[in-house]
């Protein structure tokens, strides 16, 4: 990760709080991350972890609601939280755009696909309807819709699920924005269609050099798409770093839980899934100390009452600068390799154990 100034997108201490009759819901509570052009950030978490709320904040979609937002969202050096409503509106869809989970409900049922694409183009470009239509057809063709000059006049319900999501992507990219936020873009789709859409997103990213934030609960999607991963829990980042580090040697028990609770198409079927016990926390009254401690099986390994009383900071993990984690555990690598991994993937556990001993003896050798 680089310093804030040189990043294309830099989010600093973002807080999105919703006042309700029962108190303040801290949907996002102090989130920071950076993203370069041409790179992809995966945000992972369960429902209510704040991942969608944070990305909506980047688009300024909470403006005009009761949400209290603070922090900084620097896009290309401009703090999006400071610009006027009108300025933010002009940037939406032009500098940053978004595609959503369910393309059927995300497109207006009464207007043709072409009409909706043209609208997205004409909002930001002073062109004739005819020119916008040409552009819409061009974009539909680019995202792989067959016979785009005919399908442009179809209504969303006449498209299949995969084609609708393609059309949504075409709409999101029609103004060639620098940042694309994809909120669960493939969750509503079948696997083979999901693969097509992910391929498309990667191709387009290469072509337009855009930065992509992909929000998902599917670690497999993250593994194949993202350069960096941000794991969110109860409105906060609990682990953040390069995808490879996070998914191969995670240091935070919540990330372990996510990995161990999902079966793998190649894993040993006799091993049991290791679920995360309990339920996601309330954002109204989050647990004291570490928000994850009521569900964490490793609380006992931390001396004293630390997990219950003190909220851990997001600090650099054992693997060096890029890998941040929010956890009190002193020796997460060993716990992961010896206790967590063997339960759901013994093969990987052995590999990692070997790696660790090798690294250990290396260190000793150097001394």
């Amino acid at each position: 990760m680089s310093t804030a100034t040189s990043s294309f997108l830099s989010v600093r201490d973002l807080k999105v709080h919703f006042p309700t009759a029962d108190g303040i819901v801290k949907a996002t509570d102090g989130l920071s991350f950076d993203l370069e052009k041409g790179k992809t950030l995966g945000i992972v978490g369960e429902s209510g972890s704040g991942k969608s709320v944070s990305s909506s904040a980047i688009l300024g979609l909470h403006r005009g609601s009761s949400a209290q937002i603070s922090g900084e969202i620097l896009l290309d050096g401009v703090d999006l939280l400071q610009v006027s409503d009108e300025e933010m509106r002009r940037r939406r869809g032009l500098d940053v755009s978004m595609i959503f989970q369910d393309p059927l409900s995300a497109m207006h049922p009464y207007y043709t696909v072409g009409n909706q694409l043209m609208e997205a183009y004409r909002v930001h470009n002073n062109v004739s309807k005819k020119a916008a239509r040409v552009r819409a057809i061009e974009m539909l063709e680019r995202v792989g819709i067959p016979q785009p000059d005919r399908r442009v006049d179809d209504y969303p319900h006449q498209f299949s699920g995969g084609m609708r999501q393609r059309a949504m992507i075409a709409m999101g990219l029609i103004n060639n924005p620098g940042l694309l936020i994809a909120d669960e873009p493939t969750t509503a789709l079948d696997v083979t269609v999901q693969a097509q859409i992910l391929d498309l997103l990667q191709d387009l990213q290469r072509e337009f050099d855009s930065a992509i934030i992909i929000i998902t609960h599917d670690l497999g999607v993250v593994a194949e798409m993202a350069d960096d991963v941000l794991v969110m829990y109860a409105g906060k980042a609990v682990e953040y770093g390069p995808t490879k580090d996070i998914l191969v040697r995670p240091e935070m028990p919540y990330t372990w839980g996510l990995l161990s609770s999902v079966p793998d198409v190649a894993a040993d079927t006799s091993s049991k899934l290791v679920p995360i016990p309990g339920n996601p926390p309330s954002l109204l009254n989050p647990p004291t100390g570490c928000a994850f401690h009521p569900r964490c099986p490793h609380v006992a390994k931390v001396p004293g009452d630390l997990c219950r009383t003190v909220q851990p900071d997001l600090v650099t993990g054992r693997q060096g600068l890029g890998h941040l984690k929010r956890c009190h555990l002193a020796d997460p690598d060993t716990v992961y390799a010896n206790e967590v991994l063997p339960e759901f993937d013994p093969v990987l556990a052995d590999e990692l154990a070997d790696e660790l001993t090798a690294a250990d003896s290396n260190e000793k050798g150097l001394q």
Binding site: E46, S47, P146, S160, G161, G162, M163, D190, V191, T192, V193, Q194, A195, Q196, L198, D199, Q202, H217, D218, L219, G220, V221, V222, A223, E224, M225, T243, K244, I246, L247, V248, G257, L258, L259, S260, S261, V262, P263, D264, V265, A266, A267, T269, K272, L273, V274, P275, I276, P277, N279, P280, L348
Partner: protein, 396 residues
């Protein structure tokens, strides 16, 4: 004999020994499509399920996977007789239930229960959890009225909920807890078969594992047979020792899980498996090599001739458009419906089926090829199968 074959044998014996509780043969469900004309004639049929055969052994679980519109959910609803099948038989515990009337089905409803996908809409919001779970007991009069509550509490405990919460309403529970309530309701009458239609896909990942583990424990404890329907290949593989892959209303491949996931022989199964994003890819970086399927699933009203997958199949030839491939047994517990069955990248160049079907290699009727062989089409596995190495029917 290779080690692979040995493990096949091992898995196979486990699959074939037990007594089948459910035998489905040539099951069909056609939904009529009405014209918009004056008389509303039936102008076609959605062939949602078209000739599906399989069996589930007592206490075993069969997984049904496939993409939306492949007919897996319809199959589940046929087994529970929420629909009346257009054709075929459903032999449950020695009795064909495909054609039973609503009244005669009453006792069956005790033995076959269903778990639904959406824990938010499948529970009546105006009933307490106790009355939802207790309703089947009252309807089927299995326990006296004053014993219902204690049975309900017992069930709540079994599915890991607080038994004191019987008086609460569904909205007071989280998604995972509601799915547990749905499971408790399904367990109330101690069914012999549970049809689970996407039981975890509406839940958060961390909760999915809780529910899957619960279902596995229950299966072990009560010996319930499962028909597990899901689109998530990894979840199905984890839960079911035997899995059937459906495409456009037909089973294209059915096998024990090791064979199906490690050596799939149908190009669709291969494409499906290669499309699943893999967490382990993080180590390597980038995308996995995969078979890219072009286009969308064709309409089930007008399915393609011959093999239904041929329009998107990377290895399709002329014969695929002309003749429908039979679901041919190619191993002890492995059936595949393809003219060119083989492991990925090792599909035969010539179709293996012509001699069995009495056609030539391009699928035209061929007298020289001799008459079609009688192929076993029923559910279950026989001890003779088509040996792909020698291209003949062989025996174990």
């Amino acid at each position: 004999m290779t080690t692979d074959e040995l493990t096949d044998r091992g898995a196979g014996s486990a699959l074939t020994e037990a007594k089948p509780i459910l035998r489905v043969e040539d099951l069909k469900m056609y939904f009529p499509v009405k014209s918009s004309g004056l008389m509303r004639r039936t102008i076609g049929h959605v062939q949602a399920v078209d000739g599906v055969s399989f069996q589930v052994n007592a206490g075993a679980s069969l997984g049904l996977v496939g993409e939306s519109g492949c007919g897996k959910s319809t199959t589940g609803r046929l087994i529970t007789r929420l629909y009346k099948p257009t054709g075929g038989s459903i032999d449950f515990d020695g009795r064909d239930i495909a054609k039973l009337s609503e009244n005669d089905l009453h006792p069956l409803r005790r033995d076959v229960q269903m778990i639904f996908q959406d824990p938010y809409t499948s529970l009546n919001p105006r009933h307490t959890v106790g009355s939802i779970i207790g309703a089947p007991l009252a309807i089927h009069k299995v326990v006296p009225k004053n014993k219902i509550l204690s049975r309900v509490q017992e069930l709540l405990e079994v599915v890991g909920l607080n038994p004191e919460h019987y008086n609460r309403y569904p909205h007071e529970f989280s998604g995972g807890q509601r799915q547990r309530i749905g499971i408790a309701r399904a367990l109330t009458l101690q069914p012999k078969l549970l049809v689970a239609d996407e039981p975890v896909s509406a839940l958060d990942v961390s909760i999915q594992a809780q529910v899957i583990n619960l279902l596995q424990d229950l299966q072990k404890e009560f010996g319930i047979a499962f028909l597990f329907i899901a689109h998530d290949l990894a979840v199905v593989r984890h839960f079911c020792p035997e899995i059937a892959v459906m495409y456009l209303g037909k089973i294209v491949e059915i096998a024990d899980r090791d064979t199906l996931y490690q050596r799939p022989h149908h190009p669709y199964t291969q494409a499906l498996l290669s499309a699943v994003p893999d967490v382990k890819q993080a180590k390597v970086g980038g995308r996995r090599e995969r078979i890219r399927l072009e286009g969308d699933v064709p309409s089930p009203i007008n399915p393609p001739s011959g093999c239904r997958f041929r329009t998107r199949c990377p290895i399709a030839q002329d014969i695929c458009a002309r003749v429908e491939p039979p679901l041919l047994q190619v191993g002890p517990t492995h059936k595949v419906a393809c003219h060119f069955p083989g492991e990925m990248g090792k599909h035969p160049e010539k179709p293996i089926t012509p001699r069995l079907l009495g056609v030539d290699d391009s699928g035209s009727a061929d007298l020289a090829a001799g008459p079609a062989t009688e192929l076993p089409t029923g559910p279950g596995y026989s001890d003779t199968w088509f040996d792909l190495k020698n291209n003949t029917m062989g025996k174990a």
